[in-house]
């Protein structure tokens, strides 16, 4: 089973657990004596759900979560904001690096062009050493 399937299974199990607790909450808020039997069954369901969740913990051991995500969740914020932030930062860094590389390429080409005006023989030698026939 893949890690994705494992995590989905765990999520489903946790949802079942939460739903069970929610139903108990509703029952308890306005308790009817005839519901005692159902309540007992639901409490047993809670134990069973916890057992299943406990057994599933090993299947998601290899899953890595950035600590920063927890900060977002603890602050009551959407963790997708973290993903968005990461993507934006990566994109900006990528663009910056591309800009730098392009600038250096242009600089090299211009420099060779200018040097070639005054030292054509040396530039020719340099290009021969570098196997550089292009102007860039």
């Amino acid at each position: 089973m893949t890690s994705r399937q494992n995590s989905e299974k765990l999520v489903n199990q946790m949802e079942t657990f939460i739903e069970n607790v929610r139903q108990i909450n509703i029952m308890v808020c306005n308790f009817q004596p005839q519901a005692q039997h159902i309540l007992n069954r639901k409490i047993q369901n809670i134990v069973t759900d916890l057992q299943v969740i406990n057994n599933l913990k090993d299947s998601v051991k290899d899953m890595r979560i950035p600590v920063e995500v927890l900060k977002y969740v603890d602050a009551g914020q959407n963790p997708h904001l973290f993903t968005k932030d990461c993507i934006d930062k990566a994109m900006i860094k990528n663009q910056e690096l591309k800009g730098k590389i392009d600038s250096y390429k242009k600089f090299k080409a211009n420099m060779l062009l200018e040097i070639n005006k005054y030292f054509p023989k040396e530039v020719e030698k340099y290009r021969a050493i570098r196997n550089d026939n292009n102007d860039d």
Binding site: N40, V47, L70, D74, A75, L81, K84, I87, E122, K125
Partner: protein
């Protein structure tokens, strides 16, 4: 004692000044002009490379396949994620990420000690086997009939969600100004939708008025043809003319 002996031995072998001056005895030097045209690299495999006629010329760094010049989003197949997150504005609340979770979850976790960080810092005691409750243990969950006391009901509150303002009760007449309470409610929700609704209302009112005018004109025409018509202008016609 030992260290003194060692030092005296080393001093015997290591000359304080090289017999050839500052030059390394290993490297034979053909060039005596003073310009160094070799590259000496140290490390595990020391080597001396003649780098040609240029002073301080170095080998260019090895080209790596993946650099910042490439669109890394496309390279790693993350374009879909990028367009998904960069395009639209995300809802900031945690409840929009977990819409099916009951209760109020948008409040900071520190307030009710429900933060995930606290789980890491103080891991819960585990290791014990989870067993179903016995009938004796279940007896502890026998409840009294009736509603729960007020102080315990807060958990039952559903999270307040921002509903889209549905102004179904906008039945005020065209001349009427909407009451203050109504306007404040709409301001909280979404001013844009309110404006749209107002525009619709306005359009509707204008249509009504136009219909009325047409009816009036028809009446006037009828009156013109009728023998009772005096031929004078009404005050409104005066003002229009």
């Amino acid at each position: 004692m030992m260290s003194d002996q060692f030092r005296s031995k080393v001093e015997q072998y290591s000359p304080k000044s090289s017999p050839r001056g500052a030059r390394s005895p290993v490297v034979s030097r053909q060039d005596s002009t003073g310009t160094l045209k070799t590259t000496i690299s140290l490390g595990k495999n020391p080597s001396i490379v003649h780098s040609g006629p240029f002073y301080l010329m170095k080998e260019p760094p090895g080209e790596s396949e993946l650099t910042g010049a490439r669109n890394l989003m496309a390279y790693y197949g993350l374009e879909h994620s990028y367009s998904k997150f960069s395009g639209k504005k995300l809802k900031e609340q945690l409840s929009s990420f977990l819409p099916n979770l009951p209760g109020i979850i948008d409040t900071p976790g520190d307030q009710d000690n429900s933060s995930l960080r606290s789980v890491i810092e103080k891991p819960p005691i585990g290791g014990k086997e989870l067993l179903p409750l016995t009938s004796v243990q279940l007896a502890g969950f026998r409840l009294h009939p009736g509603p729960l006391p007020e102080q315990y009901r807060y958990i039952n509150q559903a999270p307040q969600r921002k509903h889209k303002n549905k102004h179904k009760r906008h039945k005020h007449k065209p001349g009427e100004v909407p009451s203050g309470q109504e306007t404040t409610v709409t301001d909280i929700g979404g001013a844009d939708t309110h404006e749209k609704k107002h525009k619709k209302q306005k359009r509707h009112d204008e249509e009504k008025e136009a219909r009325k005018k047409r009816k009036k004109e028809k009446k006037r025409k009828k009156q013109k043809h009728s023998p009772e018509h005096s031929g004078g202008l009404t005050p409104s016609q005066h003002s229009n003319s």
